[in-house]
């Protein structure tokens, strides 16, 4: 692809991303010009900008049912799928900015928020990219911003360690992924776009037959290429066996960043993975595509079991949430497995999108509460949450809501999310996987209820004063708690949106 036919109107497709970049610069400038305004104000400013971008995104939103072409030299596709994930990332980014404003981060100035916005922007591009070069650039841009954010509390050894760990593991994973991409590039004879790749690796196409006759190892190379690229995706989504970084990083990173990592970054991993595996290797068309279809199920099962079983033994709440978010990735991978096997792919993909969205709301609210409480208490032990129902009844209630929603208890929104994923598995005849999923939900009841038990049953310090949390966090927690309940009642429009997004992705 050459850029000779560049049409400036195509920039409209990335208008929200451009606006995000501009806003990142504005935040940096505001910090400089005013000589370091309060980080609260900066957080608010960041969130306002993100909301503005959301409005831009809504205006440029592609219509349902309309086929969206790839733009900018076939690097980007701004379809409804991109739109939905962009919304998820931006909402997560705005919430993170708000709660980070309340969070004591050493020397948090404009650069923290600028990095946050850039990470969000890169994730949006990840969801939109349909070319391996764009894929790699976007993934790296997001990762590098996140490495810096995770290690942002430079004075705290744990945070610095988290940043370093995340960087080392992340760099290895992305190198492996890059190696995989280069194999694909070589095996396909120099293709970078997903659609051309998919054509090359189809058994029946004349070009493939020619290629294979010339280079008999083409499929082997492509298979290894796909496997290595999957390593990168599994790292991003914290799927077993590439999950090991997440507990350490979540524990050490500033809590709002942990919340962002566990939701937006994971969602971005899924967005980019689904796009890549389906566009470049449509299931059933080549032996190469069988690799991802077959490997999804064992990965999903391992991820669920490992995440849930290790979460049971945790005493630090951030580590517990880290393992729980690994387990949650397992449920999403269950949807991805169904996507590979199912006849009704739109339904399976929509179930993943819906799940990611619902999970984002409850998990980020949970991290917001944990962040506020642990700063106040100076401890992250679950046992130190004892008696919270007496000290801060509303906060305790909101935390119960988040925990129950993560469990998948009705009538909270997490239940509807789980339901759709489980149904997708059922529709794909993955009965065994579904039963494994149900067993895992049962295991998870134990540790999610453990937090509830600490807050309501244990006595704790009777005379302790109420836990002080910032007004931003209060708003975030309040609004998301209400959303946990209300979204169940009005789930249908959101499900329909997810379904439309999945259809536009498949068309």
């Amino acid at each position: 692809m050459t850029l000779t036919q560049f049409n400036p109107l195509e920039l409209l497709a990335v208008l929200p991303e451009l606006a995000l970049v501009i806003w990142a610069l504005v935040i940096l400038a505001a910090d400089l010009i005013t000589g370091g305004i309060k980080r609260r104000t900066l957080g608010l400013l960041t969130a306002i900008g993100m909301v503005g971008v959301l409005i831009i995104s809504l205006i440029t939103m592609p219509q349902a049912g309309q086929i969206t072409p790839t733009v900018l030299g076939a690097l980007i596709r701004n379809d409804l799928y991109t739109f939905v994930f962009r919304t998820i990332f931006i909402v997560a980014g705005a919430i993170t900015a708000l709660i980070a404003g309340d969070f004591k981060i050493a020397r948090a100035g404009g650069e923290f928020y600028a990095l946050l916005i850039l990470a969000t922007m890169s994730m949006c591009v990840m969801a939109a990219s349909v070319d391996i070069i764009m894929l790699y650039l976007a993934t790296e841009a997001a990762s590098i911003s996140l490495y810096l954010l995770a290690g942002f509390m430079r004075d705290t050894p744990r945070s610095a360690e988290a940043g370093m760990k995340y960087f080392v593991f992340g760099a290895v994973a992305s190198t492996v992924m890059l190696f995989g991409l280069s194999l694909l590039y070589g095996a396909s004879g120099g293709m970078t776009g997903y659609p051309p790749l998919s054509i090359v690796f189809q058994q029946q196409s004349p070009s493939t037959i020619a290629l294979v006759s010339q280079y008999p190892d083409t499929f082997t190379l492509a298979s290894f290429g796909l496997l290595f690229v999957m390593v990168g995706f599994m790292f991003k989504t914290s799927a077993v066996p590439f999950h090991f970084w997440s507990p350490d990083v979540y524990e050490g990173a500033p809590t709002p960043v942990s919340g962002f990592l566990s939701t937006a970054s994971k969602a971005a991993g899924f967005a980019v993975m689904m796009r890549f595996i389906y566009y470049a290797f449509p299931p059933g068309l080549s032996p190469v595509s069988n690799i991802w279809v077959v490997m999804m199920q064992p990965i999903a099962i391992l991820t669920m079991f490992l995440g849930n079983l290790l979460a049971v033994t945790q005493t630090n709440i951030k580590r517990m949430l880290a393992y729980s978010s690994i387990a949650q990735a397992g449920y999403m991978l269950m949807g991805a497995t169904a996507f590979g096997w199912s006849a009704d792919r739109a339904d399976a993909l929509a179930s993943i999108i819906f799940y990611v969205g619902t999970y984002m709301i409850c998990n980020i609210a949970a991290f917001a509460i944990v962040g506020a409480v642990s700063v106040h208490l100076g401890s992250e032990n679950i046992t130190d949450f004892a008696g919270m129902s007496r000290r801060s009844p509303y906060l305790a209630l909101a935390m119960v809501g988040c925990m129950l929603s993560l469990t998948g208890a009705p009538p909270l929104i997490g239940f509807i999310g789980k339901l759709f994923v489980f149904r997708a598995a059922m529709n794909a005849n993955l009965i065994m996987l579904m039963i494994v999923g149900i067993i895992n939900v049962l295991i998870s009841v134990y540790y999610y209820l453990g937090v509830t038990r600490a807050m309501y049953s244990d006595k704790g310090d009777q005379s302790a004063p109420a836990i002080k949390i910032g007004s931003n966090t209060t708003w975030v927690v309040g609004v998301s708690s209400v959303a946990l309940v209300l979204l169940t009642v009005v789930a249908t429009p959101f499900w329909n949106l997810a379904l439309e997004a999945a259809r536009s992705f498949l068309s």
């Binding site: 509303y394 009705p410 209820l449 309501y456």
Partner: protein, 506 residues
């Protein structure tokens, strides 16, 4: 648009809970007033439903139906028939009394009442939903408030009890959900009760399917109705739970289990029911005998009432096992009358324990001098429990055993072919178990209330407050009223039961 009375019954406690959450936590009186008011609204509205139910028309009435998640075949579909309408009233009465009994609570009263009202809303919803999905949402909605209430406000080994209770009920509901999901997929992917019933009946291999999946569904719901040998959570849970929760759980929530087993087990899979229920009847008989005997041996008051409620649900399930008009009638009245009775007994035990901090009944004595009304309530509760004529337990237990007997005499029900005579044996043994109940209730009543001697400690106990008196008198009126005029509830239950028996072809 008709007046959405059923939704209002269910929403009144929810609205109450939300309002309570916004009341400052030191305004205890305001919190309790709101709780009592919303409970009263629900109670009066459900009383209205029982009266306004058109007995000539029968069937499901006050229906409200709206599409909810069409892609899953889920709708908001609530309605009541003759069987479920009195159960709404039961929940209203017990909830109201439970709020009154807990009037003295000061520890985190706001959260307590909010959770309690959510629990009650879930039970209301479960009794009225005719969409299986909606039902399951309400059913599960009940479990988590119970956990928090028992673990947060209970006594004794409350965390252990709360976790045990939650795990038992959660596993039970999973078994039911699994079975019902299979039925849902087989019968045309609609969660609506009517559609499922029709869909199952129209299937080609319907008998085999029903016989395979009836048992998990029935036993799964049966766990909540504390069917032997899966009753174990119940005495432990009730012994640790705060009084109001024991009342609601023992009196009403267990009824939800039996009701669900009947509505979504027996009614959707009648062939499975005919095949399995004679076998299940033995478990239910074991409930009555075993729980009654344990209640006889126990010294801890809360455990005794806990086991009594296990026995009471055993009778209900026996009535369901008879699968005829008498048996189901008896089961319906027993659910209503026994639920009120269990609530009454738990509230009395709670009141006495709160004053004396003594749960070992053998150490209590002469209480009639301090709280005469409690003694009266206990006697009425005991007489109801043992099925004395003139009390609401009598028409219930008599019809249950009549139902079992007549089921053994007819060949209209298949009962796996040749098991009919078993039911006669069960009926005879079952009647004898009344003796067990009579023995322990009389023994305890005499020891606690009617001894001449009274320990000085107990003489100091404060008398009953006016609010507590209301909470005792109200269920007593129901027990006697239904006993004297059994037709007051029987004529509505019978309408529901006859339609059920007709639909299952009994």
């Amino acid at each position: 648009m008709i007046f959405p009375i059923l939704s209002l019954i269910m929403l009144a406690p929810v609205i109450g809970a939300v309002i309570i959450l916004f009341i400052p936590k030191d305004r205890n009186d305001a919190i309790k007033t709101v709780a009592a008011a919303s409970a009263m609204v629900s109670m009066l509205l459900s009383l209205l439903v029982v009266f306004a139910y058109n007995r000539d028309q029968g069937g499901f009435q006050f229906a409200e139906k709206a599409s909810w998640i069409p892609s899953l075949g889920v709708s908001y579909y609530v309605a009541v028939d003759g069987f479920s309408a009195p159960l709404l009233l039961l929940n209203g009465i017990v909830l109201f009394c439970a709020v009154l009994v807990t009037w003295n609570l000061t520890d985190r009263a706001r959260e307590f009442f909010a959770f309690l009202l959510m629990l009650a809303a879930g039970v209301f919803g479960a009794f009225m939903s005719l969409d299986l999905f909606l039902f399951l949402i309400f059913y599960e909605l009940v479990l988590f408030p119970v956990y928090v209430l028992v673990a947060g406000w209970g006594s004794g080994p409350r965390e252990y009890a709360a976790m045990k209770l939650t795990i038992y009920l959660f596993l039970g509901s999973l078994a039911s959900i699994l079975g019902l999901l299979v039925i849902y997929y087989a019968s045309g992917r609609s969660f609506s009760f009517d559609d499922m019933q029709r869909g199952v009946a129209a299937l080609k291999d319907t008998v085999a399917l029903q016989r395979t999946w009836f048992l998990p569904v029935f036993i799964g719901f049966g766990v909540l109705a504390s069917i032997w040998p899966l009753h174990n959570w119940s005495p432990d849970g009730y012994a640790s739970a705060p009084t109001a929760v024991s009342m609601l759980h023992g009196g009403v929530l267990k009824a939800t289990g039996a009701y669900a087993a009947l509505r979504f087990g027996v009614q959707i899979m009648p062939e499975g029911a005919k095949y399995w229920l004679p076998v299940v009847a033995f478990l239910c008989l074991a409930n009555v005998i075993y729980a009654g005997s344990v209640a006889f041996r126990q010294k801890d008051l809360k455990y005794i009432i806990g086991f009594a409620s296990v026995a009471h649900l055993g009778l209900v399930l026996l009535g369901i096992c008879a699968l005829n008009v008498y048996g189901l009638n008896g089961a319906g009245i027993e659910l209503f009358a026994g639920g009120v009775m269990t609530g009454l007994m738990f509230s009395l035990v709670g009141i006495i324990y709160e004053r004396s901090h003594e749960r070992d009944f053998s150490k209590l004595n002469g209480l009639v001098k301090v709280m005469p009304l409690a003694a009266v309530g206990f006697v009425i509760g005991s007489l109801t429990a043992m099925g004395m004529p003139g009390f609401s337990g009598f028409p219930a237990e008599m019809q249950i055993f009549m139902g079992l007997w007549s089921a053994s005499q007819t060949n209209s029900l298949m009962f796996a072919g040749q098991l009919n005579w078993w039911l006669a044996v069960i009926a005879i043994v079952g009647v004898l178990t009344i003796l067990i109940t009579a023995t322990w209730t009389l023994r305890i009543g005499r020891q606690m209330f009617f001894t001449d001697a009274i320990t000085p400690d107990w003489q100091q106990l404060p008398p009953l407050t006016g609010i507590e008196k209301v909470a005792i008198i109200l269920p007593c009126i129901v027990c006697i009223g239904v006993g004297i005029l059994p037709n007051s509830v029987m004529n509505i239950i019978e309408i529901g039961v006859q339609a059920m028996v007709k639909s299952i072809g009994g």
